[in-house]
């Protein structure tokens, strides 16, 4: 007997996803996607995964939603400046009715095949839960997910912190300083006093919450990712309500802060190698402290990375005056 709550949640999730994906109006699609993310966090709670629920609430619906919203805003502005009154109609794709039917049939077939494989999964429920439980005492933390992330499978996490740095280098390489948002946001000018008041209230609270999540991660759901995401949320709020921040020139501390997570993580790992241990093989008694050190640096880097990813381009260099012109030719 499946609880009504779960059935309702799953039906709502599937329906929202479908609506978000078929919406011709992209703004509608994005808002539906944000709502989808909120319900997804509830689903994680129902599946007894509070760590994921925390991350989803912060990243999945929160920051990703904000990213999509600001992208749509910038797209519309570009379209208007290019003289397109209405957004151009989406091109029809792949040969009309038969093509559409074949695509749909193919997707249904693939999904059915996957569903069949899931349905026929052996009942034994194998997994590594017991192995984690058995070695938890040696990991330096008492929360099992943190033990996996920062100790048993810390190498994955190390590479993944690298992915974050790649993302920022990539965004900076793709979007140059003459990117429209940087200048236009400054021109957008006055921020309503209500927003300033809200931000002044929220940002300190978010900083405290980020610190709390970082600290609690050793013993309970929380940790560097969730804390970094909340920190990133605070950064996005500040970017949105201090227009002059958006044209803040690139500074040394930005690069240092962005790289800090990978630097400390790799540094600790290699120091242990030099000390004759293996990569990220924490000495007994030191594990807890080293994990906290790494997590603190990673939290800082994630927060800064998410903020600067939201900026959507490399910060202006040197001269803070927005003199850059952006070209927006029609092809």
């Amino acid at each position: 007997m499946i609880p009504a709550l779960d059935i309702l949640l799953i039906v709502a999730l599937l329906w929202l996803a479908r609506q978000a994906l078929v919406a011709r109006d992209l703004f509608k699609g994005v808002v539906l996607f944000i709502a989808f993310g909120l319900l997804l966090a509830l689903a994680w709670v129902r599946l007894r995964a509070p760590d994921i629920a925390l991350a989803e609430a912060a990243i999945g619906s929160g920051l990703t939603g904000a990213l999509f919203l600001s992208t749509l805003g910038r797209l519309r502005r570009m379209e208007r400046e290019a003289g397109q009154a209405e957004p151009p109609p989406e091109d029809g794709r792949r040969g009309g009715w038969t093509g559409g039917f074949l695509t749909a049939a193919g997707t249904v077939l693939v999904t059915a095949l996957l569903g069949w494989a899931v349905w026929a999964l052996p009942a034994g429920a194998p997994g590594l839960g017991d192995a984690v439980q058995a070695r938890l005492g040696e990991s330096g933390v008492s929360h099992r997910v943190t033990a996996v992330l920062l100790n048993f499978r810390a190498y994955d996490t190390l590479l993944e912190v690298g992915v974050l740095l790649v993302a920022i280098v990539a965004v900076w390489a793709v979007a140059r300083a003459d990117f429209p948002f940087v200048t236009r946001n400054a021109e957008a000018g006055s921020v309503p006093p209500q927003q300033t008041a809200l931000v002044n209230l929220l940002v300190p609270v978010m900083l405290v919450v980020a610190g709390y999540l970082l600290w609690i991660g050793a013993t309970a759901p929380g940790g560097a990712f969730q804390a970094g995401a909340v920190l990133g949320g605070a950064g996005v709020l500040l970017l949105l309500s201090r227009p002059h921040w958006a044209v803040l020139p690139e500074r040394r501390w930005m690069r240092t802060g962005l790289a800090a997570g990978l630097l400390v993580f790799l540094g600790v790992g290699l120091a242990l190698v030099i000390a004759g241990r293996r990569l990220l093989e924490y000495p007994a008694g030191w594990a807890g402290a080293l994990i906290l050190l790494i997590e603190a640096a990673v939290t800082l880097s994630i927060g800064l990375t998410l903020t600067l990813l939201f900026l959507g381009g490399r910060p202006a260099a040197g001269d803070p005056a927005p003199t850059m012109t952006h070209t927006n030719q029609q092809p």
């Binding site: 909120l38 208007r80 309970a220």
Partner: protein
Amino acid sequence: MSGFALGAAVLLLLTLVAGMVRVVRGPTAADRMLAAQLFGTTGVAVLLLLVLAGGGSVLLDVALVFALLAAVVGVAFARRGIAAPQPGRGGGHERE
């Protein structure tokens, strides 16, 4: 107590369905966004009810993060509206 809390949670989820209709039908961008923000608030309420139903106090943290990040989305929406004004029609230019 837990049965009552779960029942109330189901009821709140049902109210979300009403909210979804507003998101889908619009007609203006602000309608959709407000409805989605309502989702966030209802989500917080559902989480608190699940705490009552024995879900553990960790859900309070989730509810806290929910509430904080919903504000980020709200501000992102508002700034988007300011940064992209359309003469005379305010934020409602997504009218279908």
